[in-house]
């Protein structure tokens, strides 16, 4: 096994760990807003490390270029989808996106 193969294995392991973290998070949390956080490891770690492994293994082949496109697309789409889902969840619960008149938010304690 040369250094390039070792790097491919490491990147693949990081990618699978990202997906595993996402799966465990979805399984262990119940609230919708908590679950939203666990979309990130799949899209930001898994979907970048595995195309990177393909790029290291193949160089700039046809598959590697498509893998880079997929990584860019998923990396860019995840924050947009997370925000859209959170917005949809809030509108379903509260009826509107802006804060209601009597709504209070927890604030950080003031520094002395």
């Amino acid at each position: 096994m040369n250094a390039r193969d070792a790097l491919v294995w490491v990147l693949l392991a990081i990618g699978v760990l990202g997906f595993l973290l996402c799966a465990l998070g979805l399984l262990l949390t119940r609230d919708f807003y908590d679950q939203l956080h666990f979309l990130a490891p799949a899209s930001l770690i898994g979907a970048v490390a595995i195309p990177a492994a393909i790029l290291v293994h193949d160089g700039f082949s046809q598959t590697a270029v498509k893998a880079i496109l997929i990584a860019i697309l998923l990396f860019w789409a995840n924050p947009v989808l997370t925000h859209a889902s959170a917005r949809a969840g809030r509108i379903r619960r509260k009826g509107q996106w802006p804060p209601t008149d009597n709504e209070t938010f927890p604030t950080a304690p003031e520094k002395k």
Binding site: V8, F32, F38, I70
Partner: protein, 83 residues
């Protein structure tokens, strides 16, 4: 069986909680399950294309990744009020 196919199987196993969420949760939990599962499905297709040395099959993964974004936005929009 090579490293790519092994990884594809591992990611497929990670998709099981997404299926569980799609079956058991309420509407918003199901949306999360769908979004996470779609990302994993696109990567599984990419890994299988690499594992079986079929370069054109990566197009399917690219198409699915594109459609995932549109589908997630449309579902989120409709789940705000109408579904």
């Amino acid at each position: 069986m090579n490293a790519w196919i092994l990884c594809a199987i591992a990611v497929l196993v990670c998709m099981i909680p997404c299926f569980v969420l799609c079956i058991r949760g309420d509407a918003m939990n199901r949306l999360i399950g769908l979004e996470a599962g779609s990302v994993m499905a696109a990567i599984v297709l990419l890994l299988l294309a690499e594992g079986f040395h079929r370069e054109p099959f990566a197009d399917i993964a690219l198409t699915l990744a594109l459609l995932t974004f549109g589908a997630g936005l449309v579902f989120a929009r409709f789940l705000e009020r109408w579904l």
